[in-house]
């Protein structure tokens, strides 16, 4: 077993366990912590594929930004002092059934395709990715930056407290 296999096994286990905690635990705060753990695991999976830049981006964006933003949103909007309501058994069963059927369908499709075998090593370093991004896919790059600006401004507008004068509510 080589190092990539060890890294993959460990981080896939961390990612899946974290994902189970992120949807299964009752406290929303534990969900967010498990979500951050999952994203560490996903970053490890990317490391085992050799894409180190993507792994760093995942840790930075998801653990560093998204999870923190979720904690802020929970503190601003969630009634943490109230006891959690009991869950509906039928909803759990239905959701589990639907998710199992969906995952099984995806897996059937993925397994039926014969992917071409490949034993080489591709260059997925940060330098190559950056060069390709700014040369071949520069339109996508610019669109993402426009989308981020618009989303941030929209988020500020939506979350802004509307001040009196009969405007809004």
């Amino acid at each position: 077993m080589n190092w990539a296999g060890v890294v993959f096994g460990a981080s896939a286990a961390v990612a899946l366990l974290g994902a189970l905690g992120a949807v299964g635990l009752k406290s929303i705060f534990h969900n967010i912590l498990c979500f951050a753990l999952t994203m560490f695991g996903v970053a490890g999976v990317f490391l085992s594929l050799g894409s180190d830049f993507l792994a760093v981006v995942f840790v930075l964006v998801y653990v560093g930004a998204v999870a923190i933003a979720m904690v802020y949103a929970v503190m601003l909007s969630y009634p943490l002092d109230l006891p959690p309501q009991p869950r509906n058994r039928w909803k759990i069963a239905g959701a589990a059934l639907f998710a199992a059927v969906g995952a099984a369908a995806i897996w059937t499709v993925l397994r039926r395709v014969s992917w071409p075998p490949w034993e080489g090593r591709l260059d997925v370093s940060a330098a190559t990715t950056g060069t390709r991004f700014l040369r071949d896919y520069v339109l996508a790059f610019e669109l993402i930056s426009v989308l981020l600006v618009v989303a941030m401004m929209g988020a500020m507008m939506v979350a802004r407290r509307i001040r009196a004068s009969g405007e809004g509510r």
Partner: protein, 101 residues
Amino acid sequence: MNLHAYLITSTLLFGIGLYGLLQRRSLVAMLIALELMLAAVSINVVALTTLTGHDAAIGQVVALILVGVAASETAVALSLFVAIHRASHSIDVESLSELKG
């Protein structure tokens, strides 16, 4: 590592995310489940482009675009949750029935 291990991991992660999206009642928990599904898609894209020898840079670019889209989606969604909580004092989807006919 062989490709199937990665595909199994991403399929399981996607299934867990789908289950959470359907089963949870809190909007923040549903957003977390949605992010899990997006991460599963990223794993799939990167593994398929890296391990089938086609063009690995495309996988990296698509995954980075996915990260950007997911980050902006999270920002807008969280601000909407705060606004919804301000309006109705709840972010439980089963009590958000104001537009129900």
